[in-house]
């Protein structure tokens, strides 16, 4: 097994986990993003050619979680909460403070939540392990998600779509549409030109 890799000029004394598979041209600014990373999947994080995960991003990836970042995708200061699978397509632009969550981590039933909350302080590191369903999130290629937006479990965002700043996406988004608001609704449609480059 390969030894843990570190990031040059990293201000945080952490490492890139062994099950993170990064293309040699991919960039991850700091290992601090891996502090909440718990994935034990064969591949917990995959990053494509020319993709970037920048400072402020937190990878809250659970034991079975897996995050796939496509070629040239840009991930700036994003909170990723993943217990199943989150796929970010090629050329996707994910702005600062966006939340991508494929799970609520806590059960909806208050009694179950209470039991879990009583166990959390007994664990080291403290973590939530309740067995609540996680529903994969798929973000198509060429999608742009505006700052402070939130994408809830099970959502698929079609190719080329735009999510407006501070929107809450609760249902699937059709390709080449702009959705915005809370909850997000279609505000208009984009030209369906398909252009593949790079």
């Amino acid at each position: 097994m390969a030894t843990a890799r570190t990031i040059p000029d990293d201000w945080y004394p952490g490492a890139i986990p062994r099950n993170a598979v990064l293309d040699e041209t991919a960039l991850i600014e700091t290992s601090y993003s891996f502090v909440p990373y718990r994935s034990e999947a064969p591949v917990g994080l995959q990053m494509g050619r020319g993709s970037g995960i920048y400072t402020g991003t937190s990878l809250h990836i659970g034991r079975r979680g897996r995050v796939i970042v496509g070629n040239y995708a840009l991930v700036t200061a994003v909170q990723i909460i993943c217990d199943s699978e989150i796929e970010i397509g090629d050329y996707a632009l994910i702005s600062w403070n966006v939340i991508l969550m494929d799970t609520y981590r806590f059960a909806f039933d208050p009694a179950v939540r209470r039991r879990e909350l009583e166990r959390v302080p007994l664990r080291e590191p403290r973590s939530i392990t309740s067995d609540v369903p996680a529903l994969p999130i798929r973000i198509g290629s060429n999608v742009w998600i505006g700052f402070d937006a939130c994408v809830l479990p099970g959502v698929t965002i079609g190719e080329g779509a735009i999510v407006g700043a501070r929107s809450i996406v609760v249902e699937d988004v059709e390709p080449y549409t702009i959705v915005a608001g809370n909850p997000a609704r279609v505000i208009r449609r984009l030209n369906m030109e398909k252009s593949h480059r790079g």
Binding site: T25, A26, L27, R49, G50, S51, G52, Y72, A73, L74, Y91, A92, L93, S95, N142, W144, G146, F147, D148, G160, I162, G164, A165, R166, S167, Y176, I178, A180, G181, N182, L190, N191, E193, S195, H196, R197, G198
Partner: protein, 195 residues
């Protein structure tokens, strides 16, 4: 009366930043205080002056993210806390304006809308994009008139003018002009009354 005010003003300390020496293209009026260690981290404007702030303003943890060509001017007696000012072109803010926690004002969308141009931009912004020109991106000045109150988590997007005395509720997302003294709420924001 006027003479007395005038002489009081002479006694005021010059504007200052509690955490260091502010950039040379920033002009602060007397008794204006800027606070917060990281407020100029994304300050890249090369124009002079880039940021002009009047007298008696209090700016606590305000993020001045100004692009190369950005110009921001702010009037007197403004009170901003933990807000984000994102400017690539022009932002004009009047006097007696209050801006709340985590509110964001932006005069651009930062990326193009057209899908093909967005792909070109993703490549230009990537670790492999070194030196590639970015596509043209729309920038439209934002104007906030006097006596406006902008609540926590509110967002003001490109090209918007907010009329004097308007009240922007917490969390409102504003994409259209707001008439003077209107009260707006919601995402997207709608006028729900007058103040």
């Amino acid at each position: 009366m006027i003479d007395q005010e005038h002489s009081n003003r002479q006694l005021l300390e010059p504007g200052y930043w509690t955490d260091g020496e502010f950039p040379a293209n920033v002009l602060l009026g007397p008794n204006t205080q800027l606070k917060g260690p990281h407020i100029f981290r994304q300050f890249r404007s090369l124009v002079s002056p880039a940021l002009t702030i009047g007298v008696h303003c209090t700016m606590d943890g305000v993020h001045f993210a100004l692009g190369k060509e950005a110009r921001v001017d702010i009037g007197d007696y403004c009170y901003f806390t933990n807000a984000m000012l994102l400017c690539e072109l022009e932002l004009h803010i009047g006097s007696y304006v209050v801006l709340g926690w985590n509110a964001t004002i932006a005069d651009t969308d930062f990326h193009p809308i057209a899908p093909a141009e967005r792909i070109a931009d993703a490549i230009a912004c990537s670790p492999l994009g070194e030196g590639r020109p970015r596509p043209e991106i729309v920038r439209r000045p934002v104007v906030i008139e006097d006596d406006v109150w902008i609540g926590p988590n509110a967002t003001i997007l490109k090209g918007v003018r907010i009329g004097a005395g308007a009240f922007i509720e917490a969390g409102a997302l504003v994409t259209r002009d707001v008439p003077p003294r209107a009260r707006v709420l919601g995402n997207p924001a709608r006028v729900i009354g007058e103040v």
